[in-house]
């Protein structure tokens, strides 16, 4: 792998003399992430490769790595904290499809970000900062971007219901949530913008100075910008800090203030609607992991155990839709 990376880097990075420390970081059956260093007389350049090896298709909802690289580059150009895209893989690279980007140092593990002293100063500022970043993403001109799947609340409910029904396992709480969403669908949004689609812990690189990079544009689409604000508030991303709705580190008010300060409008009712949708969505995704465990392609204990996390979203849905008298 290191040799293939070296050949590829030599083709676009003048002066580079080789590649070192290539290591596979993570990824499932269809995508891989590699970290490596580009050796250069001016100094080492830390880099990341995201690729789909030949013969592996992405999931139908994914935009594809080629479009991800474009979105990441446009976000970078617009001042959204992002890794710089270094190279988009060409057939001659023989590395599959994907792209190389600058490696951004920092932390993505939620429990460290929420508990370690290193991030103590950043934590109180993160919710507001994230509001500003989301405003930046939603401010990108859709007309200037590659064509993206257009989503509405009604379409999203339909897809979640189809996925849920395909599991053929009755879950009265998820039925209740589907019904609630249909009854409370606010209709098409007045504004259609770029939506990141998976803006949460794990996809944000955070340092002691705050958010350094937004990653993983795989689920990007055109839709209601309030979806991103609702998704980042889903309790599953609070990691025990359940009274701080934004990622376990901040309040909705701080998130909204940061968003509005960047010149965009918040619709809190829509955000609440998308939080319910997001909670159900994660529950359905957990059931999907169980299916990957049972019928492939990933028969791992991790997948199996994520399947047993869908009940977490059921209690969160009940807390949202049927709170008990305190």
């Amino acid at each position: 792998m290191q040799e293939a990376l070296g050949r590829c880097v030599a083709s676009w990075c003048p002066g580079a003399t080789g590649v070192a420390n290539a290591a596979r970081l993570s990824g499932g059956a269809s995508q891989e992430t590699w970290s490596f260093d580009i050796v250069h007389p001016d100094g080492v350049i830390g880099a990341i490769l995201r690729r789909a090896p030949q013969g592996h298709g992405a999931s139908p909802r994914a935009v594809g790595l080629d479009i991800e690289s474009v979105l990441m580059q446009r976000a970078f150009d617009a001042g959204v904290p992002s890794p710089r895209v270094l190279h988009v893989l060409q057939p001659g690279d023989e590395l599959g499809t994907g792209f190389m980007m600058a490696r951004v140092e920092g932390e993505t593990i939620p429990r460290k970000i929420l508990r370690d002293a290193e991030f103590a100063e950043a934590r109180p500022k993160l919710a507001r900062q994230i509001g500003g970043i989301l405003a930046g993403i939603h401010g990108l001109d859709l007309a200037q971007l590659p064509k993206l799947r257009a989503m509405t609340a009604a379409k999203e409910i339909g897809e979640l219901e189809r996925d849920y029904r395909s599991f053929e396992w009755p879950r009265p709480v998820l039925e209740l949530a589907l019904r609630w969403l249909r009854d409370h669908d606010p209709g098409p949004s007045e504004q259609m913008t770029l939506v990141h689609g998976d803006f949460r812990h794990g996809n944000l690189i955070i340092g002691p100075d705050g958010v350094r990079a937004v990653l993983d544009w795989e689920l990007a689409h055109a839709g209601d910008p309030m979806e991103d604000l609702g998704w980042v508030c889903v309790n599953s991303w609070r990691f025990g800090e359940i009274d701080k709705p934004v990622g376990g580190f901040g309040t909705r008010e701080e998130l909204f203030a940061g968003y509005q300060a960047a010149g965009r409008r918040v619709d809190p009712d829509r955000v609440k609607f998308w939080e319910v949708m997001g909670t159900l969505r994660w529950g359905v995704m957990c059931c999907g992991m169980m299916r990957h465990f049972r019928i492939g392609p990933e028969h791992s204990i991790e997948r199996a155990m994520i399947g047993r996390r869908s009940s977490e979203t059921e209690i969160d849905l009940l807390r949202l839709l049927a709170p008990r008298g305190k």
């Binding site: 009755p170 879950r171 009265p172 709480v173 039925e175 209740l176 589907l178 019904r179 309790n235 609070r238 025990g240 800090e241 359940i242 204990i301 991790e302 199996a304 155990m305 047993r308 996390r309 009940s311 977490e312 059921e314 209690i315 969160d316 009940l318 807390r319 839709l321 049927a322 008990r324 305190k326």
Partner: protein, 124 residues
């Protein structure tokens, strides 16, 4: 009748062995995978202890709520269908209490350390 030790005692013994004797020997990705495996065994141990009681109570509630008899899967299917058709909702007498109790019983097995569950245990 099967003899002793019980499945619960066996899964607990295996999980304790892995936790106390094997986990300290591993590092990196294998240590992570072992932790997940131990969590799975702990879950099974909790389910073996709690399932019989919570399933019986759930079936009794469902029969009462729906006015029909059947297996737990059949009853849950029937309730899910009624909710989907709009014939049962949060205004239906006893439905909210039933869903809460059932969900709490699931969390007691799946993730007893989950923040929302611990909060709801305290405010019951």
């Amino acid at each position: 009748m099967q003899d002793e030790p019980t499945p619960e005692e066996l899964t607990k013994a295996v999980a304790d062995f892995l936790r106390n004797d094997i986990a300290p020997l591993l590092s990196g990705h294998n240590a992570f995978k072992l932790r997940v495996a131990i969590n799975a065994l702990d879950l099974v141990t909790r389910q073996l202890r709690l399932e019989e009681g919570s399933d019986a109570a759930e079936a009794a509630r469902l029969s009462q709520l729906l006015g029909q008899q059947g297996s737990l899967a059949e009853l849950n299917r029937a309730l899910a269908d009624r909710i989907a058709r709009g014939e049962a909702d949060l205004q239906t007498l006893g439905l909210s209490e039933h869903l809460w109790q059932t969900t709490m019983d699931k969390l007691a097995v799946d993730q007893p350390n989950y923040g929302s569950y611990k909060r709801e245990l305290g405010t019951k």
